[in-house]
């Protein structure tokens, strides 16, 4: 008992230093990117209305994809690079709906309906795999995305035509096997955005799409308050303790993956209806990386991510996305420099966030060991 005073001071000391680090970590990144975006926007000499238009469009287009990352983070599974699997489910549905020629909002909703079971099944499978790779979820989910991409290509390049009946010369490659590299989504293009798109001060606002993203924020916030949300958090904190508490850890983790994959599927559909064309073999590839980078720019870490960070991240990351090629053009006379800088930002922010997270985790563990030794 007499010894207990010492560890306590160690603990409070650690908490203070952690708090400061925590504040810097959670807010430093968004502040840095805000400053970077403003500087670059000034350098590029951009029209403010143009920038606002772009950012609002991209906010509507990308929010749902970024939101799909939140649940696995809460469940302690890190950043789910596997959301590309959900995106693939969305794309498969959109190809079917385009083939059937169902147009407008009806087509979009049908695609959502189709994508849900596809994403749920693939998400369940992904969850099974990740449960066998505890502690290595992120790298495993990334490789899982690449693997799924192979299966996706196998299906859409070789099985569509001879095995999966899709008889449309416009959609198939010239030899009649495999889907074309680009599919025109004219039937559902902008179907959601143009329901109600008022222009306020020169800025076009796709109200319905934004409302859907907002609705998803509310649903996720509500989910976190339920028993399910508590279980997710408990598993995220410590799997062993959660197990002792009677929570089915593996099942909870699988549910987190299913939810994430399903939301990502819908997110990709919103993305595609805004873009209006499907790059059959590329549209999904960058989804994981860009969404994760956006979330991290918003100040999230691999263990903690909030809805606010997701939204702020999308705004900041995409502002940078719009301005950096133009700034590169102005500063160096070479637009490619801005282009590559943009790629670097996406990769670099993920690298830094992962490194900081791993480093932080080690510091905490080291403190815990020191504490344990002191109490002994």
């Amino acid at each position: 008992m007499t010894q207990s005073s010492e560890p306590k001071t160690v603990e409070s000391g650690r908490n203070v230093s952690l708090d400061i680090r925590h504040i810097i970590l959670t807010n430093g990144v968004p502040i840095l990117f805000l400053a970077l975006s403003i500087t670059m926007a000034l350098v590029a000499g951009l029209n403010f209305t143009f920038l606002l238009n772009e950012v609002i469009t991209r906010l509507a287009r990308n929010s749902l994809l970024v939101l799909s990352l939140l649940i696995p983070v809460t469940a302690g599974m890190g950043l789910n690079f596997g959301i590309v699997i959900g995106a693939m489910a969305g794309q498969a549905s959109v190809i079917a709906v385009t083939y059937w020629g169902i147009t407008g909002v009806r087509g979009f909703l049908l695609a959502c309906l189709l994508s849900t079971p596809l994403a749920a099944i693939t998400g369940w499978l992904a969850g099974l795999v990740l449960n066998r790779a505890k502690g290595r979820e992120m790298i495993t989910s990334m490789i899982l995305g690449f693997f799924a991409n192979g299966i996706y290509q196998l299906i859409f390049l070789f099985l569509v035509g001879p095995i999966i009946p899709l008889k449309s010369a416009a959609m198939l490659l010239p030899q009649g096997i495999g889907v074309r590299n680009t599919v025109d989504l004219i039937n559902i293009a902008q179907s959601l955005d143009k329901i109600w798109r008022p222009v306020i001060g020169g800025v076009r606002i796709p109200v319905v799409t934004l409302l859907i993203s907002f609705g998803m924020c509310v649903i996720i916030a509500f989910l976190m308050k339920t028993k399910m949300g508590q279980n997710l958090r408990a598993v995220g904190q410590d799997m062993n303790i959660a197990e002792v508490m009677g929570i089915k850890v593996d099942k909870t983790r699988i549910i987190a993956m299913i939810l994430s994959t399903v939301i990502a599927g819908w997110g990709q559909l919103i993305f595609l209806q805004n873009i209006g064309t499907l790059n059959t073999y590329n549209s999904h590839e960058q989804v994981g990386m860009f969404s994760i980078a956006a979330l991290l720019v918003g100040g999230a870490s691999t263990r903690r991510a909030t809805i606010f960070q997701a939204v702020a991240g999308v705004i900041l990351f995409h502002t940078l996305f719009v301005v950096s090629p133009l700034a590169g053009q102005r500063l160096f006379g070479v637009p490619q420099i801005g282009e590559y800088f943009r790629v670097f930002v996406a990769y670099g922010i993920i690298a830094v966030a992962l490194a900081l997270h791993a480093w932080q985790g080690r510091q905490v563990r080291r403190e815990a060991i020191r504490e344990a030794m002191l109490t002994e």
Partner: protein, 346 residues
């Protein structure tokens, strides 16, 4: 009998048996459709020699306890810079090749050491951090290629006179010097003693390295850090040696790769370089904790032969190029298998 059969299967490993079986099928189809089997083997051997050292680069990081080196692009980029300096100086033939290696190695040592320092501070997440450090460095180097002060008109864009080209032809430099050195025929199979010899020489060097005091200490540090520390081995230093060695091998590996390919690919080309190498060594039977030279040779031979023969043979049966898809599924499936199977690790 059944028991012994199962033992044999377990010893060789299911993935290897599957891929070997697949290869047998491919060669049978090739033979039946009147394709030149010796030609297929010739092409496969070239690909083995071309990729071998990049796969070998995985051994030091696995054996020192860091795991698969997904940060391989760092070494690759060092190698590219070395090759560019050699080309800028207008060196050709073996002089060009050796100069490229000589310039690349010191760069790789420095880069590898810095990378090792970073990995030391992110213990447990080396693979994920390595992947993204590799990716972001590739992007930074894209800016570097655009701005780099190279003057040789063969290297830079004809228009504007600034910035390196996407793909550089090595014909006038050190292209194919190893491939065309001491080529002989055996049962209709052309074998380049230069290329294969170079790969096997490095295998031998690494094999010998693990017989030295430092090599044995590194193995001990990787297998059981606590025990190694109590035996007076500086685990941290051993890990640094492993990472540096891997980066240097990657730098040499890409130079050999480029000379065999005949082109030096810059910009985003090195981005995914780590994955085929990782897949190859895992196919060879390595785990996240253990890898041998034998795994490297078997893995490279199986994986590269599969990739080389899959395209010409399957195109006789199936329309379209299925080899790229097969590569994606097999290589990533193999990595997944290793990630989900191995125990331990953080």
């Amino acid at each position: 009998m059944a028991h012994r059969l199962r033992q044999t299967v377990e010893h060789i490993g299911v993935p290897r048996l599957m891929i070997a079986g697949f290869l047998v099928i491919i060669f049978v189809i090739a033979y039946l459709t009147d394709m030149s089997v010796p030609q297929l083997i010739t092409d496969s051997l070239v690909r083995v020699g071309m990729n071998g050292i990049l796969v070998l680069a995985m051994v030091p990081t696995i054996s020192c306890g860091v795991g698969l080196n997904f940060g391989l692009p760092l070494g690759v980029l060092s190698g590219l810079v070395g090759a560019l300096i050699s080309m800028e100086m207008g060196l050709a033939g073996f002089a060009g090749l050796l100069a490229a290696i000589a310039f690349a190695v010191p760069i790789a040592v420095v880069v590898g050491y810095l990378y090792a320092l970073l990995l030391e501070s992110v213990k447990g997440q080396e693979m994920m951090v390595g992947t993204y450090v590799g990716f972001s460095t590739v992007a930074v180097m894209c800016v570097f290629w655009l701005m780099a002060p190279f003057k040789n008109p063969e290297l830079i864009w004809a228009i504007g006179g600034k910035g390196l080209r996407f793909t550089l032809t090595l014909g006038n430099h050190f292209g194919k010097v190893l491939n065309n050195f001491a080529v002989f025929q055996l049962f209709g199979v052309k074998i380049s003693a230069g290329l294969m010899g170079f790969f096997l020489l490095f295998c031998l060097l690494i094999y010998l390295f693990y017989r030295t005091k430092v090599g044995i200490a590194m193995l001990a540090a990787g297998a059981n850090p606590v025990f190694a520390r109590s035996a007076g081995i500086e685990v941290r230093r051993m890990k640094a040696v492993g990472v540096v060695l891997s980066t240097v091998l990657a730098a040499i590996g890409i130079i050999v790769y480029a000379q065999s390919y005949g082109f030096l690919q810059l910009y985003m080309a090195p981005l995914m370089m780590a994955f085929p190498a990782v897949a190859a060594i895992l196919i060879g039977g390595a785990s996240l904790q253990r890898a041998t030279i034998f795994n490297v040779i078997i893995g490279t031979v199986l994986f590269q032969t599969l990739l080389t023969t899959a395209l010409p043979v399957t195109s006789r049966v199936i329309q379209g190029d299925i080899s790229e898809v097969a590569r994606l599924i097999i290589s990533n499936g193999m990595i997944l298998y290793a990630l989900t199977r191995s125990t331990g690790g953080k």
